[in-house]
Amino acid sequence: MARISCSHVCKSYGPLEVVKDFNLEVEDHEFVVFLGPSGCGKSTILRMVAGLEDISGGTISIDGKVVNDLLPRERGVAMVFQNYALYPHMSVFANIAFGLKRMRVPREDIERRVHEVSAILGLEALLERKPAQLSGGQQQRVAIARAMIKTPAVFLFDEPLSNLDAKLRSHMRVEIARLHKRLKTTTIYVTHDQLEAMTLADRIVVLRAGLIEQVGTPAEIYGFPRSRFVADFVGSPRMNLLDVTVGEAPDNKWALSTGHETFLVERGRFDLHRGMRAVLGIRPANLKSTSPDIRLNGLSGIVDLVEYLGDGVLLTIALPGEPARQVTALVPAEAAPVAGTVVGFGTPPEAIHVFDAETGKSCRSAYLGAAEVGQSMRDAS
């Protein structure tokens, strides 16, 4: 078991800086997910922790020991790769036992531990097979078994489920969650899939272009995105973003106007000023059907596309005005209008997010933001 501490870590390939001043503390037993689009540097950071990439600057320490100059095998880490990286010429047994053999573990111990681990992952019947004779899910389980058997201090997962089909992916996700609950090994998990991040993580680190955008629990990341990028990247379906101009309104409120719609929010919640250009965000699930002639805290438009999702229906609504704007709303399947209908949707003012149009940062007041986060964490627990 171990803490991982990254301080001022950077990585550059020649003049190209892929990770810039990365600072993060991962607590013992914690499951941290690095989430971000491709090329954001998340895998590079993971590989630096593993020792597969040199660290250009800063230090990484595992369990209080700086590991910058240690070989991968000396760091006490185990890694699961996206494409499994099994040894193709070895049987499943030999694949799982490889690390222990290299560590000169006695043969009987190896046999016992391989059987224990394969029992946990349901691989007992496959031990004699070669990787090519296994399905993708089975191969990934072998890769996890191979990582697990060394009882590492740290588990590293590099997009382990990306090569699996959707059904298998959710199955393996549950297995990984169960495994972490059982082993409690400190884990860093890299993915671009926000669903994996939300379901598995104790904390999510959202990365963009080599920089941390936000670190927080899944509830914080979803409920209080600190930037427009996080708001846009996390959440499915995606958050609706509308360009607005800030104006003053009576009763100590800000009026956020798109030109066609106006939203009123409490002044205390956001640090705004008159005439400021901002971006207003509303999650599709927070749009509630109402009368089409709604004027405040709502919008109306024509249903353009109706996507049936099972329980719910995702409506794409074309809003009036130029240039063309659209929003999506998630409504119960039985209440779904047909395409072409004029509809109105309202939103509770608490569900409104506001971002600075220039910096992309959230305009939520710092003090209140913290209080709300605290509240949401109490709600969650």
Partner: protein, 287 residues
Amino acid sequence: MKSKTSLPAVFISPSMIVLAVLAFVPTVFAINIAFQDKQLSSEDSHYVGLANFIALFSDRRFLNSIVVSLTWEVMTVVATMCIAVLLGILMFEAASARMRNILSVVFLIPVLMPRVSAAFVWKFAFHPLFGLAVYPYKAITGQPLDLLANPSTALATVAFVDVWQWSLFFSVIILHLLESLPHEPLEAAELDHARTWERYAYVALPMLKIPLISLTFVKMIESLRSFDLIYVMTRGGPGIKTETLDMYAFSQGFIESGNISYASSMAVLMMVATTIAFTALWKRVHA
């Protein structure tokens, strides 16, 4: 898919016929005269049955040439493959991409040289008085060193030239084979506590098993055809220490006695033996 026209056959048959003539006519001719007592000096000949073959097995020079050939084969193939693998790995581990390219070009030069020229270059390098390769020995001890005239070093010295030509070339191939491997299993091995040599011995080289076996076969076939190299460097000497089967057959047929039939019987025997040996090996490897 079954072709309905005979067009493919029309195109293929002329070249197949030419190939068949080129391959089979000399073979059949050689087999034919192996059973006769044909001499280079006279026109007439008679069938003598297996007399040539029987005579071979009591010919000590023939038995010696079998031993030399086998030693040559094992020595050159094993040395070439070992050096090529080690050099390939060394380049893969230690050389930058730019360095690899430069080394690849440099390492290709020996094999591009016609073997006769390579043989002459090295024969001169090993010359006891003027040779560059033996100069340090001469400078230190004051004695000339004639590796090619020494019965205990001659074969190894010729083998050195063959290995020099081929192992460098093969090391370039092995470098590129290593580059073509997926990185992840090697990285996984690194995390699995494998030391550098273990990564290659247990992961990289086993993953390259099939191409490495193919390379070994290529070298085995190539080593069988090293007549020109040996001919230029030692002519089978000193004595018969480097006289391989083909050297001996050649000298029986054309140099010493002009005994064409006797030489042909050796060639036929060699052909049969290599065909059987290679078929058996191939089957074993691909079983």
